[in-house]
Amino acid sequence: MNKKLEKEFVGKLETNQNIVHKICRIYANGEAAHKDLFQEITIQLWKAYPKFRGDSKFSTWMYRVALNTAITLYRKQKRRVKTQDWDQYSFKIKAEEYDDTTEQNLKLMYQAIKELNDIDKALVFLYLEDKNYTEISDALGISEVNARVKMNRVKKKLKELLSID
């Protein structure tokens, strides 16, 4: 029974793993940290899975658990992220995606996002994922008005961070 559940879960996670990777992209620096956070989210998803009733979509449910893990439960590993990790990681993205000025700006944007606090990162993530304000307020537990206000502040903050660089 447990084996069957495990198989079912792993299958679903494999198909939907992009969601988790995208959260790691926002919250983790470097490949090692990325994998570490991915692993913790996987464990939390698996722990919560028996209670997943299927009355919501698997992916919606995943957003909730994954984001909560990143903001609330996750404790960064004590070891410092090696600069080497970070260089490789950003280099990979650079080689594949960034070759002109717009793309350079994108790189700066990603770097600026890393400077934000956990909650602001969540707002940016949900915005990039095309979630509307009802969904954002629902995920974070704040009012819609407040979600809007906060989002505007994050945008402003990002602009400031970019102009400093």
Partner: protein, 201 residues
């Protein structure tokens, strides 16, 4: 079009560049140990409960209660002990009640609140124990001095003041220790919770 919108376009394009774990890799991740904050809070809290209960047992073995028997205060002692046990059991039940209410599928703010509440219960428990021990410590000292002939000549108030001073030093050390422990465990959580809480930032 502001910066975030440019990013949004790219965000959709990046999907194909994201890493992909194979099923076997995901299987092996399921076997790994979680490093979740809730797990740590649970472990540390259980240790704290155990520590104070251990101290209690130690003081019983050391024969603190015999002093009370000797000075015919047995009844008082028993009443104090029963109240103490009831309160401790109350704290432990409340802790478990709050702990099992933590659900990762809650919204972020509610999840954080529940975790902080669980931890708060332990904090109150610790404060209760510190105060309880401080009071018994002073009481026992007072009884000892009052009833020991050899100590009668010593200035009782001076002796009490010294004892009080020693106690204060201990309390400050314990308090600092808890500030540190509490800080390590919940600093990030507290900060994020305040971010969500603060409506008129």
């Amino acid at each position: 079009m502001d910066g975030l919108d440019i990013l949004k376009k790219d965000w959709k394009k990046q999907e194909e560049h994201l890493p992909k774990f194979r099923k076997e890799e995901i299987y092996s991740m399921l076997k790994k140990k979680s490093s979740s904050l809730v797990k740590w809070i649970f472990i540390v809290s259980i240790l704290e409960f155990a520590f104070w209960i251990g101290l209690e047992i130690f003081s019983i073995i050391q024969g603190y209660n015999e002093l009370f028997v000797e000075y015919e205060l047995e009844l008082t002692y028993n009443v104090i002990m029963i109240i103490n046990y009831v309160i401790i059991l109350g704290f432990i039940s409340l802790f478990f009640y709050n702990y099992q209410k933590i659900k990762i599928t809650d919204n972020a703010r509610r999840l954080m609140k529940k975790i902080l509440n669980t931890r708060k219960m332990v904090k109150y428990y610790v404060w209760f124990n510190i105060i309880y021990f401080a009071i018994t410590f002073m009481l026992v000292n007072f009884l000892v001095i009052q009833n020991m002939k050899e100590l009668q000549e010593v200035n009782i108030w001076l002796f009490m003041a010294i004892m009080f001073g020693i106690m204060l030093v201990f309390l400050v050390i314990i308090w600092l220790f808890y500030r540190l422990l509490y800080g390590i465990l919940t600093r990030k959580l507290q900060k994020n919770y305040e971010q969500l809480q603060n409506l008129d930032l």
